[in-house]
């Protein structure tokens, strides 16, 4: 059917497809690179934006999200950077309003102790238990264990060439 289309129509279709793809390309490029007058400021903005959680879509930073609130918060950060505020001041400004939850990296303090060190505690606990069990077992006599190999005679097929990777 394609080959029966008039040549003009076919080239038109290609132009339309090309335009569509080009449009899609610029649309996604716009998301990644905002219209910026000052690239230095934008770089600093992005550095802070990846640290801040968007509270509407909670698993995204305000750098990733295009929710209204994320856009507003980015504008707020941009404005504060223009006023010469430091990163610390901007982060403090956000936590004063939205709480620690706004931080993608939670601060180390009393209430987040378990969050930060819990995994290490679990790992240490696991290693300790493993060590204790192995040490206890190493002191046992050999006849306390079941034999590794079944005591029945080997099966005929196992007597032949062992398959690669076979135990």
């Amino acid at each position: 059917m394609w080959s029966t289309l008039p040549k003009l129509l076919r080239s038109l279709a290609f132009v339309a497809l090309g335009a569509l793809l080009a449009g899609a390309g610029t649309a996604s490029a716009k998301e990644a690179v905002p219209t910026a007058a000052d690239p230095v400021l934008e770089a600093k903005l992005w550095e802070i934006a990846v640290e801040l959680r968007c509270l509407v879509c909670q698993n995204q930073t305000i750098a990733d999200s295009n929710a209204d609130l994320a856009v507003d918060l980015r504008n707020q950060v941009r404005e504060m950077l223009r006023q010469g505020k430091s990163n610390r001041e901007i982060i403090d400004y956000m936590t004063a309003r939205y709480g620690d939850f706004v931080l993608y990296r939670p601060p180390v303090k009393g209430t987040t102790w378990l969050l930060w060190f819990g995994p290490a505690v679990f790992l240490l606990g696991g290693v300790t238990i493993l060590f204790l069990v192995l040490r206890r077992r190493s002191k046992l006599a050999a006849d306390a264990f079941e034999p590794d190999q079944p005591e029945t005679p080997e099966e005929p097929e196992q007597a032949g060439q062992p398959a690669p990777g076979a135990r």
Binding site: L55, T95, G99, F101
Partner: protein, 184 residues
């Protein structure tokens, strides 16, 4: 020794179950506000009904008031709105001020005409700046502010009849009996 091998994992398992159970019942969308017990952020915004007039935080010092963040584009606000209208009609002892958040004035006025106006006044937060100061992230949100101008309660999402009856109204009663010490 044998008995401990049984009891220790069981206790750990029950503790884990407890954590998971609590976790399941938490709503991750309700982020506790750090503003509770802090002075309400200052603002000075135009009234929705008469933009020539402004209302600021200091105008409301000395009385208990409710700040309700709403918008005509906010679907959950419709769910909440009749409860506020009913509250305002029923008692009206505590004024509700509306913060019209990132809305168009015409839309907002039409919305109030259609669904009723429980507000003593609404103020216009066109660009959401005051919203950021109040840590607003999910409209509707409702704040209770005491005579000292401190935020005492925050509801994220619609006020339900239960929240109004069990949390907000008892708190309002208590706050109204408090004396102004030193309004800040």
């Amino acid at each position: 020794m044998k008995r401990w091998q049984f009891i220790v994992p069981l206790v750990l398992f029950v503790v884990l179950l407890g954590f998971l159970g609590v976790g399941l019942n938490l709503n991750p969308r309700e982020v506790p506000s750090p503003l509770i017990g802090k002075p309400a952020p200052a603002f000075k915004l135009a009234r929705l009904d008469d933009p020539a007039q402004q209302i600021g935080r200091e105008d409301l010092l000395g009385k208990v008031w409710i700040l309700n963040v709403w918008a005509s584009w906010c679907v959950a606000c419709r769910e909440e709105h009749p409860i506020l209208v009913d509250y305002a009609k029923r008692t009206g002892s505590v004024p509700i001020y509306g913060l019209n958040y990132k809305d168009q004035r015409d839309d907002a006025l039409r919305w109030l005409a259609r669904f009723g106006d429980p507000y003593k006044a609404s103020i216009i937060d066109r660009d959401g700046k005051v919203g950021i100061d109040y840590g607003v992230y999910g409209v509707p949100e409702t704040f209770v502010i005491d005579k000292q101008g401190q935020i005492r309660f925050k509801q994220i999402g619609p006020v339900t009849p239960e929240v109004l009856r069990d949390k907000i109204e008892p708190l309002l009663k208590k706050l109204q009996t408090e004396n102004v010490v030193n309004p800040a």
